[in-house]
C-alpha cells in the first residue's frame, strides 16, 4: 500500500529534477552561463545607446528646467493636496463617474483626429463609444462601451500633425501641465478649440459655471495620472522624463 504510493512519488520527484535546468551541487543554476557576451573591446553598446537616447532637441533647456522645478513644487504643495482632499470627500463610484465623464468628452477630439488621420475604424470606434456612453451611460458617467469590448483609444491633434509628417520640434515644459513639445502644444490648443466649438450638450451652463467644471477637470486629470515627481528617485529625472515623453509620443504617432 505504502509502497504503491511512494513509487510514483519518487518517480515524479525524479522527473521534476530532470526538467529543471542543470543545477550544481548547491542547487544553483548559473543563469548567466548560457548568455553570449561581446568581446572585451566591443563592450560599449549600453553607453552608445543611452547617449543616443539622451539626444533630444531641447534648445530651451534652462527655461524648461526652471518650469520643471516650478511644476514639481506646484504639484507637491497644491495639486497633490487637492487630489488627496478630493479622494477624501468623494466615494470611489463618484470618482470613477467623473473620470468617465471627462474621458467621454475626450471622444470628440479623438473622432476628429481619427478622421483627419484617415483611420476609419478608429473613428467608428470613437463614435460608437461616444453614443453608447452618452445615451446608455447617462451622459458619460458610466462606461458601458468598454464592457461591450470597445476599447478606448485616444487620438489628439499632436498625433495628427505627427501622422502628416510634422516633426516634434523643440521640447517644452508647459507650466502646470508638464512635458510637451512645440507640435503637441499646438495640437493641444487645436483640440481645445474643437471642444469649445462643440460645447458638448451645454454642460457648462447646466452644471453652473465654467470655472467649477474646469477645476473639476483639472483635479480629475491629476487624480488619474499616476506619475509622481521624485518617484524615479534620480538626480536625472528631467532627462529621463524627457526621453520617455518624446519616445512615447513617437510610438503613439507610429501606431
Amino acid at each position: 500500500m505504502a509502497k504503491g504510493m511512494l513509487l510514483p512519488l519518487l518517480l515524479a520527484s525524479g522527473l521534476a529534477f530532470a526538467e529543471s535546468p542543470t543545477a550544481d551541487e548547491d542547487g544553483f543554476t548559473h543563469p548567466l552561463r548560457n548568455l553570449e557576451f561581446n568581446p572585451g573591446l566591443d563592450q560599449r553598446e549600453f553607453e552608445r545607446a543611452t547617449f543616443q537616447a539622451l539626444d533630444v532637441y531641447d534648445p530651451f533647456e534652462s527655461m524648461n528646467r526652471r518650469i520643471y522645478h516650478f511644476n514639481y513644487r506646484l504639484d507637491q504643495w497644491v495639486m497633490l493636496p487637492v487630489v488627496r482632499g478630493y479622494r477624501y470627500v468623494t466615494p470611489q463610484p463618484v470618482r470613477t463617474g467623473v473620470s468617465n465623464f471627462f474621458a467621454n468628452l475626450g471622444e470628440i477630439p479623438t473622432l476628429f483626429n481619427s478622421v483627419a488621420q484617415l483611420k476609419g475604424q478608429r473613428a467608428a470606434n470613437a463614435t460608437a463609444r461616444f453614443l453608447f456612453n452618452t445615451i446608455l451611460g447617462v451622459g458619460g458617467v458610466w462606461d458601458p462601451a468598454t464592457r461591450m469590448g470597445l476599447v478606448r483609444q485616444s487620438e489628439d491633434f499632436g498625433q495628427t500633425l505627427g501622422y502628416w509628417g510634422v516633426p516634434q520640434g523643440p521640447y517644452l515644459i508647459i507650466p502646470a501641465l508638464g512635458p510637451s513639445n512645440l507640435r503637441d502644444a499646438t495640437g493641444r490648443v487645436a483640440d481645445f478649440a474643437v471642444e469649445r466649438q462643440m460645447d458638448f450638450l451645454q454642460y457648462s451652463e447646466t452644471t453652473g459655471g465654467e470655472m467649477s467644471l474646469t477645476a473639476l477637470r483639472a483635479v480629475n486629470a491629476r487624480h488619474v495620472t499616476s506619475f509622481r515627481y521624485g518617484q524615479l528617485n534620480s538626480p536625472f529625472e528631467y532627462e529621463k522624463v524627457r526621453y520617455v515623453y518624446s519616445r512615447a509620443r513617437d510610438l503613439l504617432v507610429e501606431e
Binding site: 529534477f17 526538467e19 548547491d26 543563469p31 548568455l35 563592450q43 543611452t50 539622451l54
Partner: protein, 430 residues
C-alpha cells in the same frame, strides 16, 4: 513490507541528496522558467497573493530632517531631497511594526516595496517603507558619508533613520518590531539586525532577508556584465533601445492598440517577437547601470570629489546636468568601487585591499552572527542572476533550514507569488 519501506526511504535519500528541504519545480508551481523573464515580468496577476487595495490602506508620507547642514551645502536643484521622506501605513490599534528596506537605488515607494507593504499590512502589521541607502534621496538627506557600499556604515545610517521614525511616530502603538528587505535591502537588513543586538532600540523579533547578495562584489560584477551581452540586430544605424522599441511597435501594430500592462508582457513573450535572453539581460543590466550613474553622480557631488562634477561648479535649478549624466553613465559599479568607495574606505580605516573590503561588506562578515541567530531567515532563488558559484552553498552552511530555496523566480520575480507570500507571513507569525 517494513524492509521495503526502509529501502524506499533510503533510495529517496540517495536520489535527492541535498535538495530534501528545497521545493521542486512542480510542487512550487511558479510558471516562469526563464530567470530573466521572471526578473522583468514578476508574477502573473492571477497567481499573486491577495492583498488589500490602496483605498483600504491608511497611509501617509512623512519627512525627517536628519542632516540640516546639507540644506546649505547641496545645490538648489536638490531641494526635493534635503529632507528624507518615508511612508507609514498604520493599523487602527496596537500592532507589530514591519520595517521594509528597498533594493539597490530604489525609492520607498518602488513597486516591490509597495507590494510587500500591501502583503504585511493585509496581515495586520504597521508598515514603514524606507528608501535604499544607495538611493538618491537617502544619500542626500540621511547618509553621513553619502558613499554607500560599506555595509556597516549603511546600517548605522539606516538605524538612525529608524530611530527617528520611531521618535516621530511615538504615538503609534507598536507591540513588537520586525525587519525585512529585498535585494541589497536584505543585505542591509542583516547588518541592521546585527547592530540592533548591541544598540537594542528595537529588539527585532524576526528578520527576513529576501534575495540578498551573498558576495557583494560577485553581485555587482554580474550586474555590470549584463549590459555586455551580444544582442542581434544592432548596427551603426540602430541602438539596443531602438531594437527593443521596434519590436514593441510591431507588436502593437499587430494588436491594433496600446495597452501597457503586465498581462501584455506575457503575451508579448509568447509572440514571435519575444525578446532573447541576451536582450532581457541587457534591459536588466541597463536599469542597474542607471542606478549606478545616480549613485556615482550624487556621491561625487555631495563629497565634492571632482570626478564627475568639477569642484565649485555652480549648479542651480536651470543648470543642465546632461554632461554629468553622461560622465556618470560611463562608470559602472566596478568603477564606482575603484574610484570612490575604496579611496574613502582606505582613508577612513587606514588601508586595506579590495578582498578585505569585499569580505567586510558581504554576508561573510556576519557568518557567525547569522549562524547563531534563529530569528533571521533567508529566502532565495536557485536561478537568481545576482548570485555566483558557491553563494547558495554559503547560505546552506550558514542558515541551515532557515534558508528557503525556490527553484525559480530570477531576481525577486517571485516576491508576490502567493506561495512566497504565504511563507513570509508564516515566518513572521512564528
Amino acid at each position: 513490507m517494513q524492509l521495503l519501506l526502509r529501502l524506499t526511504a533510503l533510495l529517496a535519500l540517495i536520489v535527492t541528496p541535498l535538495h530534501a528541504a528545497d521545493l521542486g519545480v512542480e510542487e512550487y508551481g511558479y510558471p516562469l522558467a526563464n530567470p530573466f523573464e521572471a526578473t522583468i515580468a514578476g508574477t502573473p496577476a492571477d497567481l499573486r497573493a491577495e492583498v488589500p487595495s490602496d483605498d483600504a490602506i491608511d497611509q501617509a508620507d512623512y519627512s525627517l530632517r536628519l542632516r540640516p547642514e546639507r540644506e546649505f551645502t547641496l545645490p538648489d536643484n536638490f531641494w526635493p531631497v534635503k529632507q528624507l521622506r518615508y511612508r507609514l501605513a498604520r493599523q487602527r490599534g496596537p500592532a507589530p511594526l514591519m520595517f521594509i528596506i528597498s533594493g539597490t537605488g530604489a525609492h520607498y515607494s518602488a513597486g516591490k516595496t509597495e507590494a510587500l507593504k500591501r502583503l504585511f499590512y493585509g496581515a495586520g502589521y504597521h508598515v514603514v517603507q524606507l528608501s535604499s541607502p544607495t538611493s538618491y534621496d537617502f544619500m542626500s538627506a540621511a547618509s553621513r558619508y553619502a558613499t554607500p557600499g560599506i555595509s556597516a556604515d549603511d546600517a548605522k545610517d539606516l538605524y538612525r533613520v529608524m530611530q527617528a521614525v520611531r521618535a516621530q511616530q511615538h504615538k503609534l502603538q507598536v507591540t513588537e518590531f520586525h525587519l525585512t528587505g529585498y535585494s541589497l535591502g536584505a543585505l542591509n537588513a542583516a547588518f541592521v539586525s546585527q547592530l540592533d543586538e548591541t544598540r537594542r532600540s528595537f529588539n527585532f523579533k524576526r528578520v527576513l532577508l529576501l534575495n540578498p547578495p551573498v558576495n557583494l562584489y560577485t553581485s555587482v560584477a554580474n550586474l555590470d556584465k549584463l549590459v555586455q551581452t551580444r544582442v542581434d540586430g544592432i548596427n551603426d544605424h540602430t541602438t539596443f533601445y531602438e531594437v527593443v522599441l521596434e519590436k514593441l511597435t510591431r507588436y502593437y501594430q499587430r494588436r491594433g492598440y496600446i495597452d501597457l500592462d503586465e498581462a501584455m508582457l506575457y503575451d508579448f513573450q509568447q509572440s514571435t517577437l519575444k525578446l532573447s535572453d541576451e536582450q532581457m539581460a541587457m534591459l536588466i543590466g541597463s536599469v542597474f547601470r542607471f542606478s549606478a550613474a545616480d549613485i556615482i553622480f550624487t556621491s561625487d557631488l555631495i563629497n565634492r570629489r571632482g570626478l564627475i562634477v568639477p569642484q565649485d561648479y555652480p549648479i542651480n535649478q536651470s543648470t543642465s546636468l546632461e554632461p554629468f549624466f553622461k560622465r556618470a553613465l560611463l562608470c559602472d559599479f566596478d568603477c564606482y568601487i575603484t574610484e570612490q568607495l575604496i579611496p574613502m574606505w582606505r582613508a577612513q580605516y587606514d588601508g586595506g585591499s579590495l578582498t578585505q573590503l569585499v569580505q567586510q561588506v558581504s554576508l561573510y562578515a556576519l557568518e557567525d552572527y547569522l549562524r547563531q541567530s534563529p530569528k533571521i531567515a533567508v529566502m532565495h532563488n536557485a536561478d537568481d542572476v545576482i548570485l555566483g558559484a558557491g553563494d547558495i552553498g554559503f547560505l546552506r552552511r550558514t542558515f541551515g533550514d532557515r534558508l528557503t530555496l525556490y527553484p525559480r523566480g530570477g531576481h525577486c520575480g517571485n516576491l508576490n507569488y502567493r506561495v512566497n507570500a504565504q511563507h513570509m507571513l508564516e515566518f513572521f507569525r512564528g
